[in-house]
Symmetry: C2
């Protein structure tokens, strides 16, 4: 029989609590600069104990990458990978903004440790997931797409990122719902000419 949890952790498994701590540290200090000693100290046990739950430091980052990947897969599974036309951009960004504000830390982790994530994703050739980021990346680099559209798309992505980062640093007094509305408005102004076909 499954024994009930004894720790005062809300029944949250130790592995998940380690990931919570690592997410916080990786997002605020960076993956390279965060040491396992630091994670272990916050968890209240020794460095070696971490290795019972994870095979390596990279393995912790990989698990966090999976959290983000599953999130993205669930949120954008109805998008046609082969045909991302501008008319779908507005709805795409509306959902993206909500998701990103809802899971700020995960996206900040991703943006901040992009190199490390790319490295371990490259060392784990399993799945070769075709996620949203890769599609946007290809769109941005495609010389066949009008330059104006590509630049506008990059600015829109940068705007969402900036809003998300600022949310925790400068916008602590702004309600999340209002922030989402304002960012949606700004992104709308950015991609309106693209959607309307003016560029």
């Amino acid at each position: 029989m499954p024994r009930p949890p004894k720790e005062p952790s809300g029944g949250r498994p130790t592995r998940e609590r380690i990931l919570d701590v690592a997410l916080d540290l990786f997002a605020t200090e960076g993956f390279e600069k965060t040491s396992l000693r630091e994670i272990a100290e916050r968890m209240g046990f020794s460095k070696a104990a971490l290795y019972y739950h994870f095979a390596s430091k990279d393995d912790i980052l990989l698990a966090l990458h999976l959290r983000l990947h599953e999130l993205g897969a669930a949120a954008f599974e109805d998008i046609d990978p082969d045909r991302v036309d501008p008319s779908a951009w507005r709805g795409l960004f509306d959902r993206l903004i909500d998701r990103m504000l809802e899971h700020r830390q995960l996206f900040i982790l991703h943006a901040r440790n992009h190199d490390a994530l790319k490295r371990i994703a490259h060392e784990h050739p399993k799945g070769e997931h075709e996620d949203l980021e890769e599609r946007v990346r290809r769109l941005l680099a495609d010389p066949a797409v009008p330059a104006a559209q590509r630049v506008r798309l990059a600015c829109a992505v940068g705007s969402v990122m900036a809003g998300m980062i600022a949310a925790g640093d400068f916008f602590t007094d702004i309600d999340t719902g209002l922030l989402a509305k304002l960012v949606r408005g700004a992104v709308g102004d950015l991609i309106d000419p693209v959607v309307r076909g003016d560029v």
Copy 2:
């Protein structure tokens, strides 16, 4: 008498060439991940020789920080620190975009290693420079400024950053002049409602 330079380095002093190499590495791999061994290898001499030119690794980053600071001071010395009103934003961003595209690496270095730069700037209390970034930062965090203006400003900054980062990654086929024009147009659409007083 000042002896002529013998190295095939265009007469560029060793110290400056070290900074060039360090800038490239810090911007592409990050400050923490770049080792002095890596810099020394590219320079063609040993690790210890670096310490003849710089007192520490932090000192190298500090010198690069000064490059950026002098650049910013020269470019925005005519801005009134105490009165940054929206009507000046357009001109501010126009100059900012040109400067940033012109010195891409320096700004990428700054964005990527913001924490390390803040740390060494904090350890060097000299000057307590009041630069443009600090002013924008205060504006973004000021609850007295309308939320819509703050969010639009953050999006504009994020757009410029995105355009600059993408310039080297995805926009290699886009002429710099065209890119600057397109980013100016995008930022204009973002801050137009603010400048006109619609928000």
